[in-house]
């Protein structure tokens, strides 16, 4: 009798083990991103880039659950709880905005899930708040602003007017710019987040006597600023990070953006076979040119796929070291992870040009080589 129950028990255990081992082969990915409202363009690009890579891998054992966070931190937190607890995903990804990432990432990584960031890179997660389960495939937030400062320095600008919205990523941006720029700051202006009229700031720029303007105004704010700036008759050269010049919004800015220099870790004209294949397959699949965000979504999925080649998600330590190896070919060229799981990569300076009827970017030079971030030294893991 006793022997019988034991035998039954072990049979049950092995059956459960067998079942769970077939479940291991299936990887479940939860994507929380912004698909509605004003910031939807970014989330849609990340999603499309990510899904293109999954489709090209022809793997049927990866399931991606996609949910819309509506750019609201509380909704993102609810979705993350749902994905971890009821969907039982292995890997999370997709968040666009730093404030949402700060609300979601620390809790999901603490619950043992892997988080791959395709966009947001707030400084706390790169420094003291880093986590072995958190990997950023895009950039640390300061990266492109560091490059902006380095570019202004190399062009010999001596007195730059700098401007960003009054919120954490805005102050990070201007500090990032000042890190590698050694000249004077004509004026440091913080605008309202979501501001649409920049007439007052443009009047200040006109009166400031600056020799260049550096601005970080993502999305619609950048469109408004550039259109108003070009109509104001002020001729001081403008520099910005790629966020105001991505493929999704350039058509809305139009000729007002022509000739503007902007910094980016990726552009569609990076001449590697991987990147060219990505650009043409994205164009064929979605009938539009990929943006910076699409390239980051594509890289994120390829990083995940490369790690799945060597380790299973259930083997947490093995999977993490497979991710850390970054054994994939990034569309941006050279890519590796720093000690804090944030990218070390090159940053370029681009110029807005018109190709046929389409406004787009062209790389005109490399600003930073193998650039990491200044927060890695605070990361103890």
């Amino acid at each position: 009798m006793k022997l019988g129950t034991l035998a039954l028990k072990s049979a049950l255990i092995s059956a459960v083990a067998a079942l769970s081992s077939t479940a291991i082969a299936d990887t479940k990915v939860g994507m929380i991103t912004t698909l509605s409202g004003g910031g939807a363009g970014l989330g849609i690009d990340v999603r499309d880039g990510f899904m293109l890579a999954i489709k090209q891998s022809e793997r049927s054992d990866i399931e991606v659950v996609i949910e819309d966070d509506q750019r609201k931190p509380d909704i993102a937190v609810q979705l993350a709880d749902k994905m971890v607890q009821s969907e039982k995903v292995d890997v999370l990804t997709g968040i666009i905005w730093s404030n949402l990432a700060m609300a979601v990432v620390p809790s999901v990584t603490a619950q043992g899930k892997i988080y791959l960031s395709p966009n947001a890179g707030p400084s706390p997660l790169a420094g003291a708040g880093c986590h072995p389960n958190y990997f950023n495939v895009a950039w640390q937030n300061d990266s492109l602003h560091n490059a902006g400062g380095a570019y202004a320095q190399s062009e010999g600008y001596k007195n730059v007017f700098i401007m960003a919205p009054n919120y954490p990523a805005g102050t990070d941006a201007l500090n990032g710019f000042k890190a590698l720029y050694k000249g004077d700051v004509a004026s440091e202006v913080y605008t309202k987040l979501g501001q649409t009229d920049y007439a007052s700031e443009i009047a200040q720029i006109r009166a400031s006597g600056a020799d260049a303007v550096y601005f970080f105004l993502p999305g619609g704010m950048g469109i408004s600023f550039l259109k108003q700036y070009s109509g104001s008759g002020v001729n001081i050269p403008v520099i910005g990070p790629a966020f105001s010049f991505d493929q999704g919004i350039l058509q809305a800015v139009g000729a007002a953006a022509l000739g503007v220099r902007n910094t980016s870790q990726w552009n569609k004209d990076i001449d590697t076979p991987t990147n060219q294949a990505f650009v043409s397959s994205f164009l064929a699949e979605y009938e539009r040119l990929p943006s910076l965000y699409a390239s980051q979504g594509f890289d994120t999925a390829n990083l995940l796929l490369s790690a799945l080649e060597t380790a299973s998600v259930s083997d947490n330590a093995g999977f993490r070291s497979a991710l850390k190896a970054a054994n994939f070919i990034s569309v941006r060229g050279d890519f590796k992870f720093g000690s804090n799981n944030h990218p070390i990569h090159d940053v370029y300076i681009r110029e807005v040009v018109k190709e046929g009827d389409v406004f787009t970017n062209k790389i005109i030079g490399k600003v930073l080589n193998d650039h990491g971030d200044p927060y890695a030294k605070d990361c103890k893991m």
Binding site: N166, K192, G231, A252
Partner: protein, 306 residues
Amino acid sequence: MTFVLLAEQILNGVQFGIMLFLMAAGLTLIFGVMGLINLAHGSLYMIGAFAAAAVAGMTGSFIMALLAALIASAAAGALVELLVIRRLYNKDHLDQVLATFALILIFSEGTRWVFGSFPLFLDIPASLSGPMTLPGGIQYPLYRLVLIGAGLSVALGLGLMITKTRIGIQIRAGKNDREMIAALGINISGLYTLIFSLGAALAGLAGALVGAIQSVQVGMGEPVLILAFVVIVIGGIGSIKGALIGALLVGLTDTLGGIFLPELLKFVTDPSTATSIGSSLSSMAIYILMGAILIWRPTGLFGTKL
């Protein structure tokens, strides 16, 4: 702080105020005459901008784009009034807020469905682009001067309509005593539809005019809507004159506050703290103004009804 910079900032404040007036005029009429809180007014602003961008893209004509904005937003306004708003007049304000908030979501996602998630292109016509030199050596964008002119003529036209025409008399009468004018044989529901689509057309016009120098994207109306509510509360609900004065006050306070507060604070503290405190204070400035005015005149500057 030079004279040129100051003059330019005052013009900016006036221009911003005039655009707020176009939004607030419709809102104050609807609120004052029908007693309806219309949160979806910002969506009508967005519809105007999208219609203008779509038509400008097809025809290349800015005049056609403005006409399209007026027609599309007036039609959307009339449709919304007939289908939804009409059922809300006898409900309390909470129901109205709930229903018109639902309209915001429907319009936003509907627009995204039709036009996609990426901002649209709408530019000012070449003949109005570039700066103009005013007396005193002030360089100011020509298009913004045109905006000021256009807004003032709309204000004048509205004022004349309210005071001199039969429709205006009906609107004023409807504001004072809606049962009475219905009893006198005025078609009150027709009048409400007319007022609602007039308000919608003004919002759509503002959306198209402003869309040309800002970005035409989903959700562009909501920030303006909040300011427009501040304007009508300051000006007194239902008063067109109040909306104009309130809009100019808000426009000037917002623009000049952003410049002068950081400069003033630099006398008492170091520049970087002055900048950060000053810019935070300036975003509160219009609400402080509203609070002060409401303490002084609880019904707003030109409000009569309690």
